[in-house]
């Protein structure tokens, strides 16, 4: 049996409490507060104590999906990425880069947000990039 705990930052509100994800044989079994961490000071709220439970939910998407005739069908990554690139590319050619909008995410990391705005500006060629800070 392999057991270890990984300290990370809570995925819920913006306070930035740290928590330990308890990992047993490759599955998360629970959450412990990060003792001594200056933000949470060893405490968590009820959302933090349950921050692991949605991660391994059976509803998780596990494969790329492409909609055909109004229904989703499983697709390979190569097929899905090709479809995305082809459609965005042709819409950009036909209607211009500002006909495409990009929504980034307050739940993704800084590195991912940086890359998505870079994709919008560098690859698509538009400043139409925003996220849900307003919502």
């Amino acid at each position: 049996m392999d057991y270890h705990s990984v300290q990370t930052t809570c995925p819920y509100c913006g306070v930035g409490c740290n928590l330990g994800l308890e990992v047993m044989d490759g599955r998360i079994t629970g959450v412990l507060p990060a003792k001594g961490h200056p933000v949470g000071q060893g405490k968590l709220c009820i959302k933090g104590w349950n921050a692991h439970s949605f991660v391994q939910h059976p509803d998780r998407l596990t494969e790329p999906l492409i909609k055909r005739m109004g229904r989703f069908q499983k697709a390979s990554w190569d097929e899905a990425l090709t479809r995305v690139a082809t459609r965005l590319g042709s819409i950009r050619t036909k209607h211009g880069p500002d006909s495409i909008g990009v929504l980034s995410s307050a739940k993704c990391t800084n590195e991912e947000n940086y890359l998505l705005q870079k994709l919008a500006r560098v690859v698509i060629g538009t400043n139409n990039v925003d996220h849900c800070a307003r919502l």
């Binding site: 990984v6 990370t8 930052t9 995925p11 819920y12 509100c13 913006g14 306070v15 930035g16 994800l21 949470g40 709220c45 009820i46 439970s53 949605f54 991660v55 509803d59 998780r60 494969e63 790329p64 999906l65 492409i66 909609k67 989703f72 990554w77 990425l81 479809r83 995305v84 459609r87 965005l88 209607h95 500002d98 006909s99 495409i100 909008g101 990009v102 929504l103 980034s104 995410s105 307050a106 990391t109 590195e111 991912e112 947000n113 940086y114 890359l115 998505l116 870079k118 994709l119 500006r121 560098v122 690859v123 400043n127 139409n128 925003d130 996220h131 849900c132 800070a133 307003r134 919502l135």
Partner: protein, 539 residues
């Protein structure tokens, strides 16, 4: 954040979370802190035990209000009026910090001329706050050695959201409560990395680190770093995108980890708008209501399956660490973006790790210049701005001067909300959050324990309004606005003002945002979630 940028030059919490414990006075408004930010609420309780005064301004009798020295219950949408009224009292009673105003600020005279007209009695007529309570609150805040204002979406989600924020900034500057520990104007961010998404330039007007896309010098810097020519025109906000999708000018959307179908105001309108798109790709961990409308869905890793950094509400950059492998064919968002860029034939996306991406961020973003995985691994506490490897970071902003130089007062007249109650829709609906759920519920509603606590939407109704609406003991009601209707359970409570109903917005099957008004602040582009007119009917 547009308001704080205009007043101070920087749109983030001015002070850090631990400083809350040492405040002499804390003024909370538009934040249901103990439900939405429980561990900041516990800091407030510690401050109270150390002798701090607590002022809560909220239409609802929330938990924080019960611990307050003064609770002001304003009619929703009247924040500019009561803040102007507090400033009127502070100036009239000689409690303003004249030295701070003279040395650190500009445009004070305009403010003074305007707030002279906002006597506590006039403010009582507008807001319903008793004049003497307003006077008491003004004196407590102004006389405190260190006063901190905490606010959240209850201030910003109005057509006058920017005015409300500017008013908070006015109040803090008037009393010299900026640029010192345990003071400031502190917006509490609702999502774990909303601060980071802003910092990283996921905004239509700025590159990472709030560097303006409209500035030629800035654009040249990024053009040379990224080896492309870049658009100079400011882009569309999310609110604009929905409008232009509806009118047919926006043809495609790329959505990463967002659920505008539940989060947007006037959902029925948002659905029609997204249906008109020629193409939409959604990258998410679940098949959200928005993903269901997509043409292609890309499965992404959750926070527990990735490395990187998040930036907390107080500008503190912290590590995210991978605990387990993602399920099935799932890939990390950063890998997916690099692969989409690759399929579009772009260069500059050949990253091998989040650490490499952070190195590029630090090179191009002065406020993140000194952030690195190494420093975070050593346990350093890093609040931006952190300009270099030796810079220890900045727990509180604007110490000797404001980011913009002088702090700018704005004289602001009170304006009514975009939609007021009338005979057809006699009640004000205000929306908000619950302790057990998060935003659109995609995560918490798949968490058994949290879902058990509050499994369904409800509407809080004052007993007097239940009588007027003829509910007659009904357990469920229909709530109608000019935009749509939903059904929900009733909770009768006198914790809410008569004439006001409250619905938490977490529940997709009875989404409060079917009802809300998409009228938005003309500059901040934040929709008016906190005020719209509705009526209720027994089911």
């Amino acid at each position: 954040m547009a308001g704080l940028v205009a007043a101070f030059g920087s749109g983030a919490m001015t002070n850090s979370t631990p400083e809350i414990e040492d405040c002499d006075c804390i003024l909370i408004t538009g934040s249901n802190t103990s439900e939405a930010h429980p561990l900041i609420a516990s800091r407030v309780f510690v401050a109270k035990e150390k002798g701090a005064s607590l002022i809560v301004v909220d239409p609802r009798d929330i938990q924080m209000a019960r611990r307050a020295d003064v609770h002001l219950r304003q009619r929703p949408g009247t924040d500019v009026a009561w803040i102007n009224g507090m400033m009127h009292v502070i100036i009239a009673e000689g409690l303003a910090d004249r030295e701070f105003i003279a040395e650190r600020t500009e445009h004070y005279d305009e403010l003074e001329a305007l707030v002279t007209q906002y006597t506590p009695e006039r403010v009582e007529e507008i807001s319903g706050i008793p004049a003497d309570d307003l006077r008491r609150a003004a004196r407590i805040y102004a006389k405190a050695g260190t006063g901190s204002i905490l606010y959240a979406m209850g201030i910003t989600q109005h057509t006058t959201g920017r005015d409300n924020v500017l008013s908070c900034a006015n109040l803090a500057m008037l009393t010299g409560n900026v640029g010192r520990p345990s003071t400031g104007v502190n917006p509490l961010r609702g999502q774990n990395n909303v601060q980071g998404a802003c910092d990283m330039g996921a905004l239509p007007n700025v590159y990472p680190g709030y560097q303006q896309v409209a500035s030629d010098a800035v654009r040249k810097k990024f053009e040379s770093a990224w080896q492309v020519s870049l658009p100079s025109q400011v882009g569309l906000t999310v609110t604009d995108m929905i409008e232009l999708a509806f009118s047919g000018e926006l043809k495609a959307m790329y959505v990463m980890g967002e659920n505008p179908m539940v989060a947007d105001p006037d959902i029925n309108h948002a659905r029609k708008a997204l249906t008109k798109l020629d193409f939409m790709v959604v990258q998410d961990i679940f098949l959200s209501e928005t993903a269901e409308m997509a043409d292609v869905v890309l499965p992404a890793a959750s926070y527990a399956e990735k490395d990187g950094t998040f930036t907390a509400t107080d500008r503190r950059v912290q590590r995210v660490r991978k605990a387990i492998d993602p399920p099935g064919e799932v890939r990390q968002d950063w890998q997916i973006i690099c692969q989409v860029a690759g399929h579009l034939g772009a260069a500059g996306f050949d990253f091998e790790s989040p650490e490499q991406i952070l190195e590029e961020i630090a090179r191009l973003t002065p406020i993140y210049g000194g952030v690195s995985f190494d420093r975070l691994a050593r346990g350093e506490v890093l609040h931006w701005p952190i300009t270099g490897a030796q810079d220890p970071g900045t727990p509180y902003l604007h110490r000797d001067k404001f980011s913009r130089g002088l702090g700018r007062f704005h004289a602001i007249e009170f304006k009514e909300a975009a939609e007021l109650p009338d005979s057809e829709y006699p009640l004000i609906l205000t929306t908000g959050r619950l302790m057990f759920h998060f935003h659109t519920g995609t995560m918490t509603r798949r968490s058994e324990k949290l879902e058990q606590e509050v499994p369904a939407a409800f509407v809080e109704v004052h007993p007097a309004d239940a009588v007027s609406a003829g509910l007659n003991g009904a357990e469920r009601v229909r709530v109608l606005s000019r935009r749509g209707e939903i059904e929900a359970g009733v909770r009768l409570t006198d914790k809410i003002r008569p004439g006001v109903v409250f619905i938490p917005f977490h529940f997709a099957e009875a989404a409060a945002n079917v009802l809300t008004n998409s009228a938005f602040d003309p500059i901040a582009k934040i929709p008016e979630y906190k005020v719209c007119a509705v009526r209720i009917e027994a089911l």
